[in-house]
């Protein structure tokens, strides 16, 4: 019985974390947008406007559920739940620290990849259920984009997995630091098994993984439907895309799904390429920085801070770059990223066989 109680508690913990993160991230996003556009952002509620998103959520909770009279009621009301749950289930397979993982799966990477792809069903349900041409167009654009960008991101993930030789998220993170079970080499020539730190991360174990990470990062932006790839909700053309008709808590769930998706893709990238929970500080002679900054609590700290940096970069890009046109977007995916990702996969195979 204990097993079930722990599982339920873990699920509740993850949910409250996701909700708290979304609150924090919306505030951060508005502040960063303000900074980049040389204005102040929210200032009125609380110190520096820090209670602004809490007030927003309170407002959303009180709003009425409005269902358009021509909408398909069942699909319309189920869609936000499916969108959120598909992202939320992905969190089950992510490691926070050495051994701190909700469920340790042999096929963790594939599981996360599969469960995220369910989101597109939810988006299509929302687009069709709303019975609104803007919603439908937004949903079609979104799904076309998500499906196309799954290919380069999947191949980039495979190239990292080929270096790691395992699909277990926990084991992948484990072999990028000082606790590694096998010998690891910095760029293939310097044994860093006991040095650890930034040198033992995947992107420095095999240099072509830097390109693979760049591909994964661009594709992950597209999978979250964030600028510069936010044509599904391009407000100048489509009002608000697939969530035009949603009000109140339903809109809140779609929003929550988007922000938790940002955290999720950031964390998958961190675990696969940027060393997971391992510290960026190496052992230098008698200065055992890596040994001192490793451990369960340190692991959670490093994971969290790395992912926050990635999420910060995502926001920075959103407020810096203009929106990409749809044909440019597909060109970038199919003519640039996909061939490059295949090249990275080939390099991984050669690197694994000849150099490691």
């Amino acid at each position: 019985m204990n097993f079930y109680i722990i599982s339920i508690l873990l699920a509740l913990l993850l949910f409250s974390f996701v909700a708290a993160f979304a609150l924090f991230a919306v505030y951060a996003e508005r502040k960063i947008a303000g900074f980049i556009q040389d204005r102040l952002g929210p200032t009125e509620n609380g110190k520096y406007g820090s209670l602004q998103t809490l007030a927003d959520i309170l407002k959303l909770l009180q709003k009425e559920f409005i269902i358009p009279s021509a909408a398909d009621k069942i699909l319309f009301s189920l869609a936000p739940i499916i969108i959120f749950i598909s992202v939320y289930m992905g969190f089950a397979g992510l490691p926070w620290s050495a051994g701190v993982i909700p469920i340790s799966l042999n096929i963790g990477v594939v599981y996360i990849f599969a469960i995220i792809s369910i989101e597109s069903i939810g988006i299509l349900m929302a687009g069709w259920g709303s019975n609104n041409k803007y919603s439908l167009l937004g949903a079609l654009r979104s799904v076309a984009q998500v499906i196309s960008y799954e290919i380069p991101s999947g191949i980039a993930i495979v190239s990292a997995v080929m270096i790691a030789q395992t699909l277990d998220m926990n084991a992948i993170a484990l072999r990028q630091g000082i606790g590694t079970p096998e010998t690891i080499w910095f760029l293939g020539f310097w044994d860093v098994s006991h040095v650890g730190g930034i040198f033992s991360w995947h992107i420095f174990q095999a240099p072509h993984l830097i390109i693979a990470y760049a591909i994964y990062f661009i594709a992950s932006l597209a999978e979250c439907n964030r600028a510069p790839f936010d044509i599904p909700e391009a407000e100048s053309e489509l009002v608000a895309g697939f969530h035009t008709e949603y009000t109140g808590l339903r809109f809140g769930f779609i929003f929550l799904g988007e922000y938790s998706m940002m955290f999720l893709v950031g964390m998958v990238g961190v675990v696969l390429f940027l060393g997971g929970w391992n510290t960026p500080l190496p052992n230098i002679g008698a200065l055992k920085l890596a040994d001192w900054t490793s451990g369960i609590a340190w692991g959670i700290f490093w994971t969290f801070s790395k992912v926050l940096v990635i999420v910060g970069v995502q926001m920075w890009i959103r407020w810096t770059l203009p929106r990409v046109r749809i044909d440019h977007l597909m060109d970038l995916c199919w003519k640039v990223l996909t061939p490059l990702a295949f090249l990275c996969m080939l390099c991984s195979g050669v690197w694994r066989l000849l150099i490691m």
Binding site: I118, V143, I147
Partner: protein, 179 residues
């Protein structure tokens, strides 16, 4: 009844129920979204058969790929086509149903006889087998080793077939040169 059985029967019931509803429901778009429930519950059943990799592959291939393509085809087709199929009077014993019923019954008969004659509970290679998968086994490891040794030729043939399909698709999508 322990909790595993309850979850198993829950998944099995939702597979059957949603599959029936996919067939009988009038609203085509709803039925295709219900098909998602069927496929997802099937993935749950695969997990119970200790085939976790197949469960995940089912989600990627069928839910993430095929189902989305089917929905795309529906959403892009004209609404009048969708409405026309709903108008048709459905009478289970109508004359136009007889060929379909006949084929369905024959197929069921074939399946029933095959399974009855095979008698899967008493097969010697099942009862006497020593390689039984445990819950904690790393199944993906076995799959990888088998694909690269025992089933290498089928694996390679499938990859060549997929390559042919890819080349064919890109050839069809190509803009024709003006002569």
């Amino acid at each position: 009844m322990n909790i595993e059985q309850i979850v198993f029967y829950f998944f099995a019931a939702s597979v059957l129920l949603s599959a029936f509803m996919v067939v009988f429901i009038k609203n085509m778009v709803r039925s295709i979204f219900l098909f998602f429930v069927t496929l997802f519950s099937m993935a749950g059943l695969f997990v119970f058969a200790l085939a976790d990799f197949i469960a995940v592959t089912q989600l990627i291939v069928y839910v993430g790929g095929m189902l989305v393509l089917m929905i795309f085809a529906f959403l892009l087709s004209s609404k009048t086509i969708l409405n026309k199929s709903e108008v048709k009077e459905s009478n289970l014993l109508g004359l136009h149903h007889i060929p379909g019923l006949f084929i369905a019954l024959l197929f069921f008969l074939i399946l029933f006889i095959t399974i009855y004659q095979a008698n899967p509970d008493q097969l010697s290679w099942v009862n006497n087998s020593e390689n039984v998968i445990q819950v904690n086994d790393n199944t993906i490891h076995f799959i990888g080793v088998n694909l690269m040794t025992r089933y290498l030729i089928p694996f390679e043939i499938i990859s060549v077939l997929l390559m042919m399909a890819l080349i064919g698709a890109s050839h069809l999508a190509r803009r024709e040169k003006k002569i």
